[in-house]
């Protein structure tokens, strides 16, 4: 079965500092990988996704993620965090072998200090 691990429940970074949120997945073949952001009480906003091709994926709001097959990872990065980036971030994995449903990680809450 597919599974997603986000090892960090909370992360605090200073505004302007770089950010890396970790995501590890468990799946035999190449999965489809997603990062979503959620503000409190709000819906899910897609930041970026990886299906195939270039392993470095660019997304919205200056985010990027790198797929590393050897490490089963899809970490999200941003070179300079803004206070408005404070939110909860979810990594998700899906594949047609599992009915194309998405399996989400537990999320990482990002706090930004000024």
């Amino acid at each position: 079965a597919q599974s997603v691990t986000q090892p960090d429940i909370h992360i605090t970074v200073s505004e302007g500092a770089s950010l890396e949120l970790r995501c590890n997945y468990s799946y035999g073949a190449t999965p489809y990988l997603f990062w979503y952001v959620q503000s409190p009480g709000q819906g899910l906003q897609l930041l970026l996704k990886y299906f195939s091709g270039d392993t470095l994926v660019q997304g919205i709001k200056g985010f990027e993620a790198e797929f590393k097959r050897s490490q089963s990872s899809f970490n999200l990065r941003k070179p300079s965090v803004h206070w408005s980036d404070a939110a909860e971030y979810f990594c998700a994995v899906g594949n047609k072998e599992y009915g194309n449903k998405l399996v989400f990680g537990a999320g990482t809450i990002l706090r930004v200090k000024s």
Partner: protein, 114 residues
């Protein structure tokens, strides 16, 4: 950009009452999903629907839940007799027939059972 529309955005209901959550998927999408997110927890798959029948359901999706596509545009989730533990954010999603391309979530319905 096409959107998945969910109504209402927030619903409060008495325990034991029936509720229907409504979704209008993107018009050319073929596969439809419901997910649930209990407050403070991760997003969980409930059910997938294709060609007017359930494709897959999770163990959460017990007999008190049902889904329907009553016409060409709506996709509904019914909870027959709500329990306190059904309080959650419910997300609808839809996608095209091409794998996970175009996978789009609605903004969610927050269900509060009192």
């Amino acid at each position: 950009e096409p959107e998945v529309t969910q109504t209402p955005s927030h619903q409060v209901t008495q325990m034991g009452q029936e509720v229907i959550l409504r979704c209008v998927p993107i018009s050319n999408h073929l596969y439809f999903y419901w997910y649930r997110q209990i407050l403070g927890q991760k997003v969980e798959f409930l059910v997938s629907f294709y060609n007017n029948e359930i494709s897959e359901k999770s163990e959460i999706f017990d007999d008190q839940f049902s889904v329907e596509r009553p016409d060409g545009s709506n996709f509904t989730l019914k909870i027959r007799s709500t329990k306190l533990e059904d309080s959650a954010m419910y997300f609808c999603a839809s996608r095209t027939g091409l794998g996970l391309y175009g996978y789009t979530f609605g903004s969610g319905t927050r269900l509060t059972v009192v």
